[in-house]
Symmetry: C2
Subunit: 370 residues, 2 copies
């Protein structure tokens, strides 16, 4: 028996998560275990009603679960960033889920926008650092006099725009990204361990030629971790180049390890080459703590309640969750049933079908049972 | 008569720039003007010999030219970042070339990696801010005790890793990005002006839901500039989503305005969908000062001197240079001759041909003359 927390969230989140839970229950029954779900009413609705994002008590309670199954957050009634930072990132950070695991795999029967590429070409994993970089939320906005905040910034702009540093003329904002040696090392170790169970290639992503302080450290740590794994072949790629190779030579990649923000960008691109956001799952993993599994897409508020959203990304995230709990066979069965469902043509509009959200969930569950 | 500075730079830079100059001379002859070239020996070779990147005197001299024609920099013998920051970014910043103009256009006869897309689908322009953001080069790396550098960072990591803030245990790096209201406004104005001469759509790129300080300012300024251009339709896109739509719906875009670093990333992706880096030109523009035109690719050191590099990106950058000088007809003739050369099959290996660098330059020049 596993206790799993569930957070439907906003927009299409609750609908797709229901299908995910349905499928995981089917897999549990089939493979002889049970999942006890505990739902948490976290999301925009509650925030708008009570002002609460995630409470201290809630965090403490969530920390007693090995896993959280997460729908999606984001709502048009709330300013961009409030829910993302106050809920999703807050959970990733609080539980120190330092690995954001994002498989980029083109399933059989799904078409990719890339000419001449098939399932044999698109099958790699992005390991995104998930707690540092420009996601730490340190920044500020100010005018003139307060430039003294950061002397160096004040001087830069005094020179550039001929400003009197004492005036209030120019408005400036800054954002700070932070990387630590330990924070980089631990996610790279995870990536190398994963590569050792796959094709033994790790690509490191950075922009060390421009953001030399943070990504210089990243490169140095990567070289050290690589030296400790002589059986794995490695390379450095600049983030700009990575976006090209994802499109041109996706077959080249095995495991890609990336700082947080670049990971955000390249995994959306990865989602697209694997057939679209409706198909891309992610796991936020703390190998020793509470981990969280979610589709990588957002809450698509305009489709809320219409029953048309594609639940496959969420169901696939559920497979990652099962795998994380140690139920590897059940996890594989879920992925196989997703492929079967696609083969049977029971797919939503985004994949060219006419099935509804519930139809897809039902069919995946049915294939698992049979 | 126009005076133009030329910097061949490193790797394949000098070879491809020679072809560009050849083509521009042909266009000048045809359209009744003249270009006086002055070459500057800036690059890795000189740096390794003398330690000099770009001298004060050189900068002063360069500032007397309306335009610089630039090959590429980057050399395996030099640590990543030294030449990029010390030469390329130094020039962009010194001359305050705040617009980095990057047309993403699939030429007739070129194949794109995107299934089912053609020249009618891929034709937009990215206007990349070119002097701010995470390119300002402010950052640092330090250990324990010195965390007091930035109190907030020290606290973050003391908590995270249970560190004694007075110890030297943990190494940390940070990087600061800066945006100013004026720096954002001026590049957006350029983008809107451009859109008014095109299809009147501007897409703004940011990640305001996470990097809320810098990109919150960016969004606010964009809304203001948009309000002043009611004839142009606008939208916000998160950078992660942009990479998806470039691949899925490139036809959607007209003018894309983006902060510096995201612009770096999405224009490499853009280069790939327009057929590869060998075809992607860029202009670093200061509408009132010295502007600089370059291929957006790097110096490909391993192909140096082999005569196989594709000069089209550089030649096309030359067309942007002519346009910038006011020689619009000549600029258009260069682009037409590039298309003619591709149609005639006189293309390098990267485009599936067997022509050498010089063959391509000769053919483009020949088509202009005839
Ligand atoms: C919603 C947003 C904060 C999030 C991120 O940037 O990490 C999302 O884009 C993702 O990739 O999971
Ligand atoms: C070489 C590098 C500094 C440069 C950049 O990041 O701007 C390049 O990638 C580009 O896009 O022109």
């Amino acid at each position: 028996m596993y206790r799993v927390a569930s957070i439907g969230g906003d927009g299409i989140g609750p609908e797709i998560l229901d299908e995910g839970k349905k499928v995981l229950d089917a897999a549990a029954e089939k493979y002889g275990f049970e999942i006890e779900w505990t739902d948490f009413p976290i999301g925009a609705d509650r925030y708008l009603e009570t002002g609460e994002l995630v409470g201290e008590d809630e965090l403490r309670e969530l920390s007693t679960f090995p896993a959280i199954y997460f729908g999606s957050i984001g709502d048009d009634r709330v300013r961009p960033g409030v829910l993302e930072k106050g809920i999703l990132l807050a959970l990733r950070f609080y539980f120190d889920q330092y690995v954001n695991l994002r498989p980029i795999k083109l399933l059989h029967g799904v078409s990719t926008p890339l000419a001449g590429k098939g399932p044999e070409d698109i099958d790699f994993v992005v390991v995104r650092e998930n707690t540092e970089d420009f996601y730490v939320g340190i920044g500020n906005r100010f005018r003139g006099r307060q430039h003294a905040d950061l002397e160096v910034i004040r001087n830069l702009y005094s020179v550039r725009f001929g400003l009197d540093a004492e005036s209030d003329a120019e408005e400036i904002a800054y954002q700070i990204g932070v990387l630590s040696r330990e924070g980089s090392r631990r996610v790279m170790e995870y990536a190398f361990d994963l590569a050792e169970r796959r094709e033994k290639r790790v690509t490191s992503v950075d922009k060390a030629n421009v953001l030399s302080d943070v990504y210089g450290l990243w490169r140095e740590v990567f070289s050290e971790v690589a030296a400790a794994h002589p059986g794995v072949s490695t390379e450095f790629n600049f983030v700009d180049a990575v976006t090209m190779w994802f499109v041109k030579n996706p077959e080249w990649f095995d495991v890609v390890v990336t700082p947080n923000m670049f990971g955000d960008i390249i995994t959306d691109l990865g989602a697209m080459i694997q057939g679209g956001l409706g198909l891309a799952p992610g796991g936020n993993i703390n190998p020793k703590g509470t981990s969280m599994f979610e589709p990588i897409h957002g809450s698509a508020p305009k489709y809320r309640g219409l029953g048309v959203a594609n639940p496959i990304a969420t169901i696939w995230a559920g497979a990652l969750l099962l795998d994380h709990l140690g139920e590897h066979e059940a996890g594989e069965a879920v992925v196989a049933a997703i492929e079967g469902t696609i083969r049977d043509g029971v797919v939503t509009r985004d994949l060219g079908g006419t099935a509804g959200t519930v139809d897809v969930g039902d069919h995946v569950a049915h294939l698992i049972r049979s």
